[in-house]
């Protein structure tokens, strides 16, 4: 049996039935990485000996005992490199574990490898990494999506059974859609961000990628919860996020937002998503037409708020305490300016400038304050919608995976493609992407993602609905031909 084909739940079952061991599993995945990653380029680094040692002593009675989990390069793991795919943090070694990592370890999991991403999580294609270009396993001439492109590609290429990523405006759901796997953005406050390199603090959430919704629920069980190191993490009663799995769609009210089916989206994506919606209806779901009237403003609001917060968060990268420092600075100001000029890539600089501008004296009210007010209108759209429906069903991305290099010179076009994922972050709600079909393009099959959005802190129900769809769709069983 080839262990790389198994889901987290299946691996766990095999460990516990004594069919194979965590050592067998880590060896199988390492062999797969060695075989395909020279093509895919999802991993920045990994320490096999350390993972093997952890597998040898793994306690398989724990909730994630002995399961290898790949980690986006923006989450600190004690003793490992953590660069956010930026030159600025080249050589940095994490002096501590992020809370999600200590929780994964406590659940018996083995964090394995550093996964490539857009620098500081800014981008939708992973082309903004300072180190390498990650390729879509379904067609290696195309991007895997971003910013958590390495996390999505590694799962899609069967290099690890699951990974962690982060989602500020779609950075988990969009690459999951483009790579044909499942990606969950939990509600704001569900998961601690302590040890996540901050991009936009009012939007960032850490979440899992896996081949199935069940696996994502298992991972969320491990990483969710209040953490005294992150005051935005919520103190909620313990919850089993697998509790809603295994049900059907009878009587489930699914909202179809008319603003998410627009001209300009790829008609083949639209057809796939509409077919999936019909399938849900045939399985007993009740379809409800809804409106999210402020959708057209979401991208603008996001690129004001996210860049404003980023310009403040990234001020810490000044060459003083960690990472690179420009050589022979003539004074402190020269050191700051040249360190940042040399260390940051173009997209990061562009966003820092935009964020600094919208916060600057004389412009704050016109841009930042106004964006925060429109954010309130976007939140209210969702609150009104969730009065009528259990979840919203819509496309994850308007496009299929596009060719590497196609959009790098046109940032506005890249930003506009985030239209269907961004509002969930602004509203603080939860959302996930599941595979709903493939489209043939240039002789290759390219995956399409179906997005389910749930109200804030309604993950158990959301995961249940996505799992029910998955059971009737069968798309999760398809993998990239590599």
């Amino acid at each position: 049996m080839d262990l790389i084909n198994l889901t987290l739940a299946q691996l766990q079952e095999g460990f516990r039935a004594g069919k194979f061991t965590p050592v067998d599993a880590i060896k199988a995945f390492e062999a797969r990485i060695a075989q395909v990653d020279p093509q895919i380029q999802a991993f920045l680094s990994r320490d096999f000996d350390k993972a093997l040692a952890a597998a040898e002593t793994a306690d398989i009675s724990l909730p994630l005992g002995g399961l290898p989990i790949g980690i986006k390069d923006v989450i600190n793991v004690l003793g490992e490199s953590c660069t956010a795919s930026s030159k600025l943090l080249q050589g940095y070694t994490s002096p501590y574990d992020a809370t999600v990592i200590s929780k994964l370890k406590a659940a018996g999991a083995i964090p394995y490898g550093r996964l490539n991403m857009d620098e500081f999580a800014m981008g939708s294609s992973t082309e903004n990494s300072a180190y390498q270009v990650t390729r879509n396993p379904w067609d290696t001439s195309r991007i895997p999506g971003g910013s958590s492109g390495g996390s999505a590609a590694a799962v899609a290429a069967l290099e690890v059974p699951a990974t962690l990523g982060s989602d500020t405006g779609g950075s988990i759901r969009q690459p999951a859609a483009l790579c044909g796997c499942v990606g969950l953005k939990p509600s704001y406050g569900r998961v601690s961000r302590y040890g996540l390199i901050a991009f936009a603090s009012s939007l960032d959430q850490i979440g899992p990628f896996a081949r199935t919704t069940r696996d994502c629920a298992m991972l969320l069980n491990a990483i969710a919860g209040r953490d005294k190191h992150d005051s935005t993490s919520l103190d909620l009663p313990a919850e089993d996020f697998t509790a809603g799995l295994g049900r059907d769609l009878k009587g489930v009210r699914l909202g179809i937002p008319k603003e998410y089916f627009v001209d300009g989206m790829d008609p083949r994506v639209r057809a796939s998503v509409e077919a999936a919606i019909k399938q849900c209806a045939n399985a007993g779901a009740e379809l409800v037409d809804i409106s999210l009237p402020h959708t057209e403003y979401a991208v603008s609001v996001y690129y004001i708020i996210a860049t404003a917060e980023a310009s403040a968060n990234l001020a810490r990268f000044d060459g003083v305490r960690y990472g690179r420092r420009a050589s022979d600075p003539k004074d402190l100001l020269d050191m700051y300016q040249r360190t940042r000029e040399e260390g940051f890539g173009s997209e990061v600089k562009r966003r820092i400038i935009l964020g600094t501008y919208v916060l600057s004296s004389g412009y704050y009210d016109a841009y930042y304050l106004r964006a925060q007010k429109v954010r309130t209108l976007i939140r209210r759209d969702f609150e009104a919608a969730f009065e009528k429906v259990d979840a919203i069903i819509c496309p994850t991305s308007p496009d299929l995976a596009f060719p590497i290099g196609e959009r790098t010179s046109d940032p506005l076009r890249m930003y506009l493609a985030d239209i269907f994922t961004i509002a969930a972050n602004l509203a603080g709600i939860c959302g996930l992407s599941v595979p709903c079909g493939t489209v043939e393009e240039g002789g290759k099959q390219l995956p399409v993602g179906l997005q389910f959005l749930g109200k804030s802190l309604d993950e158990t129900r959301l995961l249940g609905i996505a799992d029910a769809y998955e059971q009737i769709s069968g798309w999760n069983n398809r993998t990239a031909a590599l």
Binding site: P95, Y188, S201, G323, M335, K373, T376, P411, G428
Partner: protein, 95 residues
């Protein structure tokens, strides 16, 4: 208003970024187009709408001000580009 009055070089100075002339030109064009796009927000009437700074239902989280565990100083200083005497070294600040 076609292009809002963004002066990339001035803003870069505020952000402590030393840009090349080429970067200034490219960013000026790209950010100009992005700001033009953002202008549509001004059409909306937001009178009386409260701003949303974040979506958490929790405000003003406080705790006892007691010393806790810190990271190991030597481990932390290993990441500093320059250090000496258990301190981070930077260019001279005061003449």
């Amino acid at each position: 208003m076609s292009t809002p009055d963004l002066n990339v070089r001035n803003v870069a100075r505020l952000a402590r970024l030393a840009l090349t002339d080429e970067e200034v030109t490219v960013f000026q064009g790209q950010l100009g187009r992005i700001l033009e796009h953002i202008e549509h927000l001004k059409k909306l009437d937001v009178t009386g709408v409260e701003p949303t700074a974040h979506t958490s239902p929790v405000f003003n989280v406080i705790r006892e001000d007691v010393p806790g565990e810190s990271l190991d100083r030597e481990v932390v200083l290993k990441n500093a580009p320059r250090s000496a005497n258990k301190l981070v070294v930077v260019p001279k600040v005061i003449e």
